[in-house]
Symmetry: C2
């Protein structure tokens, strides 16, 4: 039995994601598709539009056999840690291939750059640091360092999926070089592009549409499979909302107002006295976008700040993040959280269990690992904007068996 | 110019409070009535039904000449600290009298017991401690210790206003014995009694009425002066609500979910591993009353727990509270916050200024004292449940000149 791994967020699941799953299966000729998926909060530092259980169902309904949660503590870090954790879990799950979407669409330049980056790491890091000091953004500094090290490359490392792809390659080099990585060209509007277009729109365009005043969720040109639309509709009916940062702004504001500067300075990512800036700006901001744009400078990307805000919201200190990242890099992450599976996925697990040292967790228990305790807590916070009794019922899902189809 | 001091919360201002002000003026024959008033949060560990600015206006409209804020950090402590801070401020304001309402209505037993308590403090404290260990509530333990020390007394120290009165007496003995204390019998339903009755109902009964489904705020039998009713109406129209713990439950829940046990253990009043109990019960409670009754035991009074919840909500650690209480007992509290005044009140201040070492603060500044920074923060949290733009406008009141009439 061969397995192919994909690394996803599905915010929400659309035709581009369907194409990705289909191509992964075709290109790898694998029997099983395993998706590593971010949970309630995403790598760009945002709450997912609908919860992880709904998004896992979307994946299963469209060809994935197993959906595994990428623990929150890794999912909301920058691309290198996010990618390392995802590839680490896929290696635990003994996949033969990993197939990712990228703007580039060719795997060779990824391999080439990843090798150079790994070989010349100190020089590379020094170059990036120097550019950052001159006020350049991280993607730009990255691009410049590579240009210096390897001359011209066809890989545009200012594009988000190319950046992630390179991080996957680097992780694979460190974790297990026998896993074969392949990329497919994203057949859709670019990540940041905001207009709906047939047949595949970007997730950003879909979210913008869903958050418009009166979206009709059954329209054809949403570029989403019907089942995915139905699951979105069901969730909103039950929860009463699609989740956005606006729903968490009162909580973020409350914490920034009540935490001391000393407490805030201990939050992961709170560098260069940012706590003073946040404390000051929260008093002058009426909503989340207001706050974000008041805090933004050339120095920090939007994603970087949003990730920081998530760490504040979830009270995740540098100490906590370092502890878990350290566990990851020393190979002590051994629990794998299953969110959903098909019968084929279940068969694969049965095959894997006697051949693997990891523990598969279908539902959280009171004495779950520290990593999963953070996931349970992230769920509790994620559902806070929902009124009772739905809030409590949704929270129980973490403590219930995974979805099987 | 003679001044009489009163210590109040006005939650909300009713006919009983009017009677108190009138009697204070008559009994003391003073020219000026000075009210020390709790701010946004009250001694029983609750948010005030309307903000401190509205309640200060109510006081000025009904005979008070000067309304001074009792800093939050003292207002939400048990009766001895609450009373000490209030009497301390009244002493700074050089009042000649303090007149308080009590269930007893006679001052002699208060003097008698306060003297004995101060003289035999170690024995008294040991007796109270022993009773608490046996599981008695604090008021009961208090009563028992007194009975042991002085035999039978006509003062029932299970009644809340008698308890506070005794605390005022004890504070006066320590701060300045030349201030004359006097008490008047409360002419109203007892504090905890919940039915509206003519002509003076309890504040509890009035609040219950206001929080009923459809209260008509112009009805006569509310036992409140018309001006007070009008101010209540205006506030609710502007803010969109009367404040209750329900409005802060999502924030309390959020903090209890995200703070670590270690962080919670540092909160003032978090004794005997209560943090474990709170963490556990918050997961099983759907609203504030649910939570309160899940946490309640014979060991803790409702007020004691609500004060603890307020300390959690406002993130006030034992270290912070001890720092400020220590400042109070060593006489380092020198800033006095004015919320409202009449012309006579202003004249009295003009008379006082050259004869006093305290600083009068009409509006907060960025570099206000640490005590007032806590008040500003308490205001920010207090107004959080209010939608924009009203929320921001109300918060600006702390940074605007006091109300003058």
């Amino acid at each position: 039995m061969k397995a192919v791994g994909i690394i996803v967020e599905y915010n929400p699941f659309h035709n581009g994601h369907l194409y990705h799953i289909e191509q992964a299966r075709v290109k790898s000729n694998a029997d099983i598709v395993i998706a590593i998926m971010s949970g309630q909060f995403l790598q760009r530092g945002e709450p997912a539009i609908v919860d992880k259980f709904t998004r896992a169902k979307m994946a299963i309904a469209h060809g994935a056999d197993l959906v595994v949660e990428l623990p929150t503590i890794y999912a909301i870090q920058h691309s290198d840690i996010f990618a390392y954790a995802a590839v680490y879990l896929l290696n635990c799950l003994q996949v033969d291939f990993i197939i990712f979407g990228s703007e580039a669409g060719l795997i060779e330049p990824f391999y080439k750059i990843a090798e150079i980056e790994c070989e010349k790491k100190p020089t590379y890091q020094a170059l990036v640091k120097a550019s950052l000091k001159q006020g350049l953004s991280y993607p730009h500094a990255n691009q410049l360092a590579l240009a210096t090290l390897i001359g011209k490359t066809e890989l545009d490392l200012k594009l988000p999926n190319n950046i992630l792809g390179l991080s996957y390659l680097k992780a694979q080099q460190q974790i297990n070089r026998t896993i074969k990585l392949e990329t497919i060209k994203r057949k859709q509007a670019s990540y940041h592009e905001a207009s709906l277009s047939q047949p595949i729109a970007s997730a950003t365009a879909i979210r913008n549409y869903l958050f418009s005043d009166n979206p009709m969720l059954d329209v054809k040109d949403l570029s989403m499979p019907n089942e995915s639309i139905a699951l979105l509709n069901n969730y909103r009916e039950y929860a009463g909302l699609f989740h956005t940062w606006d729903d968490y702004f009162p909580l973020l504001k409350y914490r920034l107002l009540t935490d001391t500067l000393e407490q805030l300075s201990m939050i992961n990512g709170m560098t260069e006295g940012l706590e003073y800036r946040l404390k000051k700006q929260i008093n002058q901001s009426k909503n989340f976008n207001d706050f974000l744009s008041n805090v933004l400078t050339k120095r920090y990307t939007k994603a970087r700040l949003q990730r920081l805000f998530l760490h504040v919201l979830l009270n995740l200190t540098t100490e906590t993040v370092h502890f878990h990242v350290n566990n990851l890099y020393t190979g002590e992450l051994n629990d794998i959280r299953l969110l959903a599976m098909t019968k084929a996925g279940q068969l694969y697990l049965n095959f894997l269990k006697p051949r693997s040292e990891v523990t598969f967790i279908g539902q959280l228990k009171k004495n779950s690992s520290a990593t999963m305790a953070i996931d349970a807590n992230a769920s509790a916070i994620y559902y806070l904007p929902i009124t009772e009794p739905s809030q409590t019922k949704l929270r129980h899902k973490d403590f219930s068996p995974p979805h099987r189809q």
